[in-house]
Amino acid sequence: MVISRAIHKSGKPENTFNTALLKRGQFTAHQVYAINSSNSNIEVVTNPQWQAVFSAERLSWKGLRKLTDWKALSLINNGKCLKRAIELVQLVNSTHYDKADVFWALAVLIERETKGSWQASLADGTDGSCIFLGGSGEVLVIAPTGQLFKGKLQSGSLVYVSNTLFRPQYNRLNQV
């Protein structure tokens, strides 16, 4: 796995999260990583249909002080934790689907670390965008152009179409 090798190679310095791979756009479609908090390993996640399947190869990553940081950050301030996730997603030089996959992987991590206090779910946009809904009414839209937009449900940023489909109202969303 390309992702696995790259993470192995760049496991130092400890505080470094390897984004070089992301910059080079080596993520294949719907292939993302997530951090398994129970054993401090990184798992490669295949996510073909928006369902994270944590089954692929595992490998350790020594630079996982980050996990503690994530945990602390998510418990103290969800906004900051999310901000980090968004920063990371913005570094993904690939399709908006890949960006969504990376965000989803991080969301799974945060949700797990916070034992469900932080929640996110997925929906589709009528324009092909990927939409994340937060447990407190937040909206994060990853547009087909790759741009990220944020907003709130109560601000009318999404029009309900069906249970899995919304129409983003970009004039009511703010670009991240």
């Binding site: 505080n15 470094t16 984004t19 994530w70 969800n78 407190s136 449900l153």
Partner: protein, 230 residues
């Protein structure tokens, strides 16, 4: 033939309702309720009829109105629930008939069939098929909802207290304000949603204690860098 997917009704109105309830605690609780509804519609067992989201958030707002009570009950304080129960019994503004039927003895709470027993006669008397502007609003899946309530009651006392409380609130809302209801209301789906909502107890407790879980509440720049680009 594939069954028609049930949808959400009065989405925009529900969003407007959320915007009106802008205090941190209530807003987070109501939004979380909507989050659970959407998730249940998508991943759980959807309602058997289109679901009036605005009626739901209105009911949930009533459930969450007494935040001290809610917090104490979530923390397992039985006396808080009983006090609220007494207050409800004393101050209920519904018809005498409804009041007499819905009143129950706290001491007999082990028998969780009380609610079904109390409401059953009302169902037969037509209260749950309320005529609204030429049509009749219905509470759907009433009996399965009561059975669901009993099942939950046997499993978890705190959830049981609050689910009973939520049931009381939805019934009251239906009886008093169902003129605003669009379509029929699936009571079992409501209770399944409320169970999911109440299951995340730690989240609710922290929200009620004032913790801010919103994603975009803090726009401040952080000093420390957790991730460094290499």
């Amino acid at each position: 033939m594939k069954e028609k997917e049930t949808t959400i009704l009065r989405w925009q109105e529900a969003m407007g309702f959320l915007a009106l309830h802008d205090d941190l605690v209530t807003n987070q609780l109501l939004n979380n309720g909507v989050f659970v509804v959407l998730r249940e519609m998508r991943e759980g067992q959807p309602p058997v009829a289109d679901f009036d989201l605005c009626f739901f958030v209105d009911t949930l707002a009533n459930v969450c109105l007494n935040q001290e009570f809610l917090l104490a009950t979530l923390q397992g304080n039985a006396s808080a629930y009983r006090e609220e129960e007494e207050k409800i019994n004393k101050s209920r503004k519904l018809t005498a008939r409804y009041r007499s039927k819905l009143s129950y003895d706290v001491a007999n709470r082990e028998d969780m069939s009380f609610l079904a027993g109390a409401i059953g006669p009302l169902k037969n008397s037509g209260y749950f098929h309320k005529p609204i502007g030429g049509r009749t609003a219905k509470l759907l899946r009433f009996q399965p909802a009561m059975e669901f309530l009993q099942t939950v009651s046997q499993a978890d006392e705190t959830s049981s207290w609050l689910l009973h409380y939520a049931t009381y609130q939805v019934l009251e809302n239906f009886l008093l304000h169902s003129d605003a209801l669009e379509g029929d209301f699936d009571l079992l789906f409501f209770m399944q949603v409320m169970k999911q909502f109440l299951e995340n107890r730690q989240l609710l407790i922290e929200v009620l204690q004032g913790k801010d879980f919103r994603w975009f509440s803090d726009e401040e720049e952080e000093r420390e860098e957790v991730f460094c680009v290499v």
